[in-house]
Symmetry: C2
DNA sequence: TAGATTGTTAATCGATTAACAATC
DNA sequence: TAGATTGTTAATCGATTAACAATC
């Protein structure tokens, strides 16, 4: 579909476009120009047109973009209609928060298993799933073949567990473990989320004062 | 201290440097060259030297960088010794996870108040603090003058609450609310964290397959 | 001293912005 | 048709990489 490889900055903006277009749709708006969308999102109109044109013409000269059509097309690109199997490992507060508050289905994913080493949690219903012991992990993976693992576990356990999960067929990690996974296999996709780094960036801007704008909007 | 404004990409890399240097320090390493640090972090040696030189010479020709000295200097820049007052609003799973698992002190911040509108939670001890009712928010702010607010609340409530908090003296937001705060005051610093967008980026890379590398490491 | 590695300048690369012809 | 707004090319800007003199 794409003419050539899409650059990272563009990819990272796609979910945000998708979100804004969803909001506009809910406001019952039908069409929008790149200029108006730029104003609302804090981007430039040029950039928006460049971004959309990575995937081919979504708009119409003199008219702009049809909001629901554009949203649907971006959704297709992002794969919101896929059903990628996801397991979550580590059912602490953060794991629970992600399992319960994040709509995986809306994002092309399906949470199919939750694991924790703490026996007190085993069997506890979370987001409609029973928390399973780690011992069942490999049998589960062989049976259900999840592709993505969410790691909401402490730092120390992350790398070893990741290696094990790769051998069980996991090829994508959403890693919250305060440790940068390094996997020397380009087929394995890693999204490291470092909440601590994000807080530090904010803290830096606070004490450095004005003019410090790190927002990527 | 800085000769000129530091660019956003550099600022965003600083916490990561700080983290890696901390790990090296714990491995009892004393010195490191830009080349070796680059190898470990997946950056280029050139970039590392450029980054550090934004702040003045941290290294020594022929030797490299002294790890603990470098770490301390980056820590100073990031303001880890500050004590910025932080309140957290929304004590659901995500709020609790952030309050309990994130070491604010290590990052120049101090969590001094937690608020939630749910009466069942009032008084519940979380990370050493009692959860307070929203009604006490303004009195609390007047008394303790927090500067940063963590918003772990639903989307709908975010913008209105943010405006109220600004009038109470809050000048930094760490926003997890699935809604992009837009505040037209450059003095107010906003760090939007969109976990959903992060998952979608991962999902995109999964179904697009190989060569999709959005890691910023 | 010789080797190593920085600090810094210059070259390259890529992303964003500007401009405008195409066209609805 | 005239006005609006895209798609797309060219110009600009900024960040990364390469190169190398300075120096420990």
């Amino acid at each position: 579909m794409a003419k050539q490889a899409i650059s990272t900055p563009v990819i990272r903006r796609l979910p945000r476009y998708y979100r804004f277009l969803g909001e506009l749709e809910q406001e019952d708006m039908e069409r929008i120009s790149s200029k108006e969308l730029a104003r609302r999102m804090g981007l430039s109109a040029s950039q928006i047109r460049q971004d959309f044109n990575c995937f081919g013409g979504f708009g119409q000269q003199g008219y702009g973009y049809n909001i629901s059509e554009l949203r649907e097309k971006i959704g297709m690109i992002l794969g919101v209609n896929e059903r990628t199997g996801v397991i979550l490992i580590g059912a602490g507060n953060l794991g629970k928060a992600i399992a319960t508050h994040l709509d995986f289905q809306k994002r092309g994913c399906e949470l199919i298993g939750i694991f924790d080493s703490n026996p007190d949690l085993h069997g506890v219903n979370t987001a409609g799933l029973p928390i399973l012991p780690m011992e069942e992990l490999s049998a589960f993976c062989r049976k259900h073949k999840p592709q993505v693992a969410v790691l909401t576990i402490p730092k120390g356990a992350a790398q070893e567990l990741a290696d094990q999960l790769i051998s069980l067929g996991i090829c994508g990690f959403w890693n919250f473990s305060h440790f940068d996974l390094r996997i020397n296999n380009p087929q394995i996709i890693v999204e490291n989320v470092h909440l601590g780094d994000s807080l530090m960036t904010l803290a830096y801007c606070m004490h450095r004062g004005e003019g410090c704008d790190t927002s990527d909007e």
